[in-house]
């Protein structure tokens, strides 16, 4: 049963760890640019990779409110690090994107759409929380009345290799948001890392093709049992919880609560939480003119509801205080999102907790607001 033929869709197979390189090679030869977690400048980030040796082997992440530290370990896991500050949204919804170029022609202007020559991307090591975040951004960008064609093109061409979590950070709360630690579907391939091998679920035809010429054997019931055991262990590691059954009304009932002032006294309104959030989708536009004024590029860039200018209108600012901006972010993420898109905008990845410079914890603030009662 050794792999000259690729496994069928929905099969579960066992791979030797080193064989993962062949899978990456296949994707590379298929024209994909590979993006995966890698260690840079003391953090685990997402970037172009080509070799499995670039994955964060021998590192683990210690995260708590306001802190994220890489630690050296003796483990040889390829996917032992939980999520860093980057999420896949920076590839599907890039921080900077040209929307159009305006050319002056005599007295007037012509508007030209940009050429997208970016290669299709293969995401290596997507966590279940982040896979759910992609689905949430799909609701925003492609499942609504107006499709964002830039997002749609990137998304349609993306290959997704999930890494089910065999460890959790103290900031994780995916079990509360029902987004992990195991990805149920929506991937091309999903691996679970065992000490000496990978158990790989084939989620799509493209996933099956990526295993062409790769040595594999069917995963035994024993192997699948080990996967289930690892998932249970990860679930038990997750200590942080968020109660969601009373949302969205819980927050709507507390719009005028004085407790928002208490959060605002700590919040710096820096916008870090929105930048690291894998679902935050707000953007603004910038104009970049050349010196002669003959052409202008119009660029879409990430924006944040924490930025004062975000809510500026001619008659003033509709959210002039940090209190109002934090309330907007949290109320949108946990409450209004449910009305808008039918599910929460939070996946429980914990990034906003770890990367908040003052350690504001959305799960704690939610419980605090709950315990204080409606206002």
């Amino acid at each position: 049963m050794v792999g000259s033929t690729a496994p069928r869709v929905s099969a579960t197979v066992l791979l030797a760890k080193s064989v993962l390189q062949r899978v990456l090679d296949n994707l590379h030869e298929g024209g994909f640019q590979l993006i995966g977690p890698t260690v840079r400048d003391g953090a685990v980030i997402l970037d172009a990779i080509r070799n499995i040796s670039e994955l964060p082997i021998g590192w683990s992440l210690e995260q708590k409110a306001g802190s994220s530290r890489l630690l050296r370990t003796h483990a040889t896991d390829y996917f032992g690090c939980t999520v860093g500050p980057h999420s896949w949204k920076r590839y599907l919804f890039p921080p900077h994107l040209d929307l159009l170029i305006a050319h002056r022609n005599g007295e007037g202007w012509t508007f030209e759409p940009p050429l997208d020559d970016s290669p299709p991307l293969a995401f290596i090591g997507v966590r279940s929380c982040d896979l759910h975040a992609i689905a949430i951004q799909d609701d925003v960008f492609v499942n609504g009345a107006v499709r964002d064609p830039h997002y749609a093109r990137r998304r349609e061409r993306a290959f997704i290799l999930v890494a089910n979590c065999n460890t959790a950070a103290t900031t994780c709360f995916c079990t509360s948001m029902k987004t992990g630690p195991r990805a149920p579907s929506g991937f091309d391939l999903a691996l679970t890392e065992l000490p000496e091998s990978f158990v790989l679920e084939i989620g799509s035809e493209a996933g099956s093709n990526a295993l062409a010429g790769v040595d594999w054997q069917p995963a035994s019931a024993f192997d699948q049992g080990r996967v289930a055991q690892i998932m249970q262990r990860t679930e038990r590691q997750i200590q942080r919880q968020a109660t969601t059954s009373d949302l969205p009304q819980l927050l709507y009932d507390r719009i005028d609560h004085p407790y928002w002032e208490a959060i605002a006294a700590r919040c710096l309104s820096c916008g870090n939480c929105t930048l690291v959030c894998p679902t935050c989708f707000c953007s603004t536009v910038e104009e970049h003119s050349d010196l002669t004024g003959a052409s202008t590029r119009r660029t879409r860039v990430w924006d944040s509801c924490f930025i004062l200018d975000f809510s500026h209108v001619h008659s003033g600012n509709s959210r002039p205080t940090i209190k109002s901006r934090y309330r907007q972010w949290m109320t949108h993420k946990l409450a209004a999102w449910i009305d808008q898109f039918g599910r929460s905008g939070c996946v429980g990845c914990g990034r906003c907790i770890a990367w908040c410079p003052v350690g504001i914890d959305i799960t704690e603030e939610l419980s605090a607001l709950r315990s204080l009662g409606a206002r």
Binding site: W109, F111, H150, E287, S318
Partner: protein, 285 residues
């Protein structure tokens, strides 16, 4: 998607891509406010808008602004936009000359419910430049005057100089529309009413069972308009307001115009008051 299609570069037709439009006329309204008539350069460009919708006007190198269409929906080829010079883009619009080109896209947004107003009394309550998105309603009413019952405009400005479209009031009145104008602060030339616009409710009688209210103006004004209308037993379902927030995309993607669960560009700018009651007028929300 096939493998080769995946690898091909593609030109992406962005929904935010404007089309060139020419300034056909500029009509000064009052100090710092003018009306710009814009027409798409491409004669095949789709024409047509409903009262209350807005366009995005793009000045390359400066930016883009959302401006209500304020002209007659029955002549949609040339669309008028009343602009107050408030920020960097609108001030640059103020420097445009006839025959200049801008980028234009639209129309966007949910319009005033004209069909619901048919056969009913219609009360248009507006302040300052808030009359602009209601002018298409008035012009549409004039086209089909007999389809509507009593039509009454309550219009207010800070000073007599802030009132818009005053040269048209006579024509509107001749078409059987009542106009009740007041200013917050009068000068020696002013012979009309003085007081904020919600106070005008005290000078009129209305049939609360058969009246629709369309209101646009500063949010604080609309709050009191809603209060006065409801005090006269006009139901929440019969009150419509047009809202304003910062907008970058106008298509529900940029996130700027959210108020609670709604996107002003997508579900608004015109809302039935009962739809947004829970969030309307909440401080800094």
């Amino acid at each position: 998607m096939s493998q080769t299609a995946m690898l091909e570069p593609a030109i992406i037709a962005d929904p935010m891509l404007p089309s060139p439009a020419v300034v056909r006329a500029i009509r000064p309204e009052t100090y710092g406010i003018s009306t710009f008539s814009l027409e798409y350069l491409d004669p095949a460009a789709p024409a047509g808008f409903a009262p209350g919708q807005f366009n995005m006007i793009h000045l390359p190198g400066l930016g883009e602004v959302a401006i209500s269409i304020c002209s007659d929906p029955n002549t949609p080829k040339v669309m008028e936009h009343t602009v107050r010079y408030a920020g960097s883009v609108t001030r640059a619009i103020g420097r445009l000359k006839v025959d200049d080109t801008v980028g234009l896209r639209g129309p966007y947004g949910n319009p005033w419910p004209m069909q619901l107003a048919e056969g009913k009394d219609l009360m248009i309550v507006s302040g300052g430049i808030g009359l602009a998105p209601l002018r298409p309603v008035i012009l549409e009413v004039i086209h089909r005057r007999s389809s509507f019952g009593r039509v009454l405009i309550l219009y207010g400005g800070r000073t007599p100089q802030d009132l818009l479209y005053t040269s048209e009031f006579e024509r509107w009145q001749d078409s059987g529309i009542e106009i009740n104008v007041s200013v917050d602060r009068a000068d020696e030339t002013w012979k009309g009413q003085v007081g904020v616009i919600p106070m005008a409710f005290y000078r009129i009688r209305l049939d609360h069972r058969n009246t629709l209210v369309f209101s646009c103006g500063p949010e604080i004004m609309m709050r009191f308009v809603i209060y006065e209308a409801m005090a006269r037993r006009i139901p929440k379902d019969a009150i419509y307001v047009s809202m304003e927030r910062n907008m970058k995309c106008a298509i529900g993607l940029c996130g700027h115009c959210q108020v609670g669960p709604v996107f002003i560009c997508k579900q608004g700018p015109v809302f039935r008051f009962s739809e947004i009651e829970a969030f309307f007028g909440r401080e800094e929300f």
